[in-house]
Amino acid sequence: MNLLILNGLVVDPANRICKKADILVENGKIVKIGKIQNAKCQMPNAKVIDAKNKIVTPGLIDIHTHLREPGHSDEETIASGTRAAASGGFTTIFAMPNTHPPIDSVTGVKFVLMTAMHEGIVNVLPVGAITKGQKGEELAEIGKMKNAGIVAISDDGKPVMNANIMRKALEYSKMFDLPVISHCEDTNLTKDGEMNEGYISTVLGLKGIPRQAEEIIVARDIALCELTDGRLHIAHISTAKSVELVRDAKKRGVKITAEVTPHHLSLTDKEIKNRNYDTNLKVNPPLRTEDDVKALLHGLADDTIDCIASDHAPHLAEEKQQEFKIAPSGIIGLETTLPLVITKLVHKKVLTLSQAIEKLTFNPAKIFNLNCGSLSIGSAADITIIDLNKTKTIDKFESKSKNSPFIGMKLIGFAITTIVGGKIVKENGKIISD
């Protein structure tokens, strides 16, 4: 089907476009952007989407999604996860490899790609494990996985604690131009940790996780990146000092990039006290303090932090409804990322709309060499249409899990239409799956 998207405000940071324009999509590709005269007469068979007073952007990209398949399809599947993604305005998502078993071989990569092709409704790009079984001991078959389609490597969920293995990973992956996504956590310092270490953890009697547990590994990995001239991407950066470390490294020309989650930008450890040990606030790295949030916002604004990523981590309700200590870490994020970005960053003028979209489209595409993230003529028509003024109280999800601390929160700015390769997968707030 051909599409005509009329009268939207087109925001495409990759091509430095921010203007009112129409978009013509033919055979799944973008063929024209600009004023299209008598469009309906020219294209009588095209479906017309009126985007008046709406924002039209490249399809959003989430570089940090946990889909839980294989292994935990009770929490999420590639089918349900991609629906959640489409609902949140994402047309491309990464599948993090810490599944059961972990994606550490060609077989695993092919499983994700095949399942996504048959059951997914947005593009799924697998991330391969750095080490076999994510055990941190031996390199996985990174080259073979690259040939099978991975876009990065990561042992996310845990760090590569052995510095020598991390060094080899940065060296080896360099040959394939694959970024190494680092989950920065010194597990000797975080053992049994439940939340950020500070006054609140003391009062609540929860085991603290010091900021330094993250910063030590950020500093270590930057040093290793300099040693190897590899490509390092820091996942879910959460402390002021980590931001500083990345900023300094970038100034020195180290090939390092970083992402931040919407929850680390909008919540602090105080909320755990305000909400009486609500385990939907238990995340890893933990929610930090106001000073850290300020530094993260500043880091986003000055481009020290390149991307915003959901770290969508579904968990069953019965797992979360436990004592804080034994509840698993992580929250779902695909469906709240965009409204949080618009509400907390764009409407509050931390970022311009164009900057915010850049961190959700062009920057991730650039870092991971993806052929998406722009509205360039000839590219696949991955498009998200956003209503900046739509308000909604977060309640229902397409995700199989509901572990969100944002339930009940009123947010403004939602994706209303999501188009993947010219196919509408979400329209007027509804998922269209075939």
């Binding site: 006054y199 953890s201 009062v203 009697g205 929860l206 009486n276 040990y277 409804q321 436990q322 004592e323």
Partner: protein, 315 residues
């Protein structure tokens, strides 16, 4: 006056006035202990469930006696006999107890926030009998009651809590309660057992009790868990005893009327010397007696907030 809460989860959540009310109410209950019939009919027909995920004969017995002296029925659910071992969640256990129509649930649990979970889930009054490293409010109240009994005031007293502050719910409840009543609170411990930013709780942090001993009115000595040594929080028990243990030698410069307290059970010869534990300065056994009175007061006052028909009690 009443308590403004369904539950007693911690002293952090009580006002100064509410704490004073509990302490005042405990007084006549204590006098009752000298009578031959140590029972009043106040909570007749009410059920108190004692839900203990962590064994504690001392605290459980104290609550059980308090409930029985108020004529309530008690039910013990201990971890060994409970379905927890079969993997039942705390929320499911709470719902089962709700179905049994309990009026009070006294919960002891090894994880912080457990009492909050159960309080959110069911309508019975929840009394936190110790949750992880968070709070142990009735212990805090009985400590304060004991100090008040001996010193006639709390305001202006210099009170040191000595020992494993990091893992201690007793320390946290004491700090909240004592500060609200105007004491100057000191914490003394090895640096590895001092939690982050505790100074923000309005306490002075010290590593050497000798430096402040001369001005102290009360020393509350906490039990040291032997497994902390395995966690490398201090090198040996011998070293702990020598540097942080309270003994007569360290008390040489103390005020004559200094009070020595300990929530028990004691490791004699480690955090406290036998000489100090058994000295005239020690009020450790009175703490146990006072514990029952304070717990009776808590049950009595929480029952009242229920709007339950609770007879007024005259001493």
């Amino acid at each position: 006056m009443k308590l403004n809460h369904k539950d007693l989860l911690g002293l952090e959540y009580l006002s100064k006035k509410e704490i004073e009310l509990i302490l005042k109410t405990a007084k006549p209950f204590k006098q009752l202990f000298t009578r031959t019939v140590k029972k009043v009919p106040t909570l007749r027909g009410k059920t108190v469930v004692l839900l203990f995920y962590e064994p504690s004969t001392r605290t459980r017995t104290s609550f059980e006696l308090a409930a029985k002296r108020l004529s309530a029925d008690t039910v013990n659910i201990a971890i060994s006999t409970s379905s927890v071992v079969k993997g039942e969640s705390l929320i499911d256990t709470a719902k089962t107890i709700e179905a049994m129509k309990a009026d009070f649930v006294v919960i002891r649990h090894s994880m912080s926030g457990a009492a909050h979970i159960i309080a959110k889930t069911i309508s019975a009054s929840i009394i936190n009998a110790g949750d992880g490293m968070h709070e142990h409010p009735t212990q805090g109240l009985l400590d304060i009651f004991t100090i008040l009994e001996k010193k006639d005031r709390i305001k202006g007293l210099n009170i040191a809590i000595v020992g494993d502050i990091l893992h201690s719910r007793v320390a946290r409840s004491n700090i909240w309660g004592l500060n609200k009543l105007g004491a100057n609170v000191f914490v003394v411990a090895p640096a590895t057992l001092i939690p982050a930013e505790i100074y923000k709780m309005n306490v002075e942090v010290h590593y050497d009790i000798s430096k402040i001993i001369h001005k102290l009115d009360v020393i509350n000595i906490l039990r040291i868990q032997k497994e902390r040594q395995e966690q490398h929080l201090f090198p040996t028990l011998e070293e702990y005893s020598e540097i942080f243990g309270v003994n007569s030698e360290k008390l040489l410069n103390a005020k004559k009327d200094i009070l020595i307290m300990h929530p028990g059970p004691m490791n004699r010869g480690i955090e406290i010397s036998t000489e100090v534990a058994d000295s005239k300065k020690s009020v450790i056994t009175e703490q146990v007696t006072n514990g029952i009175a304070v717990r009776m007061a808590v049950l009595y006052l929480l029952a009242d907030t229920d709007g339950g028909e609770c007879e007024s009690f005259n001493s």
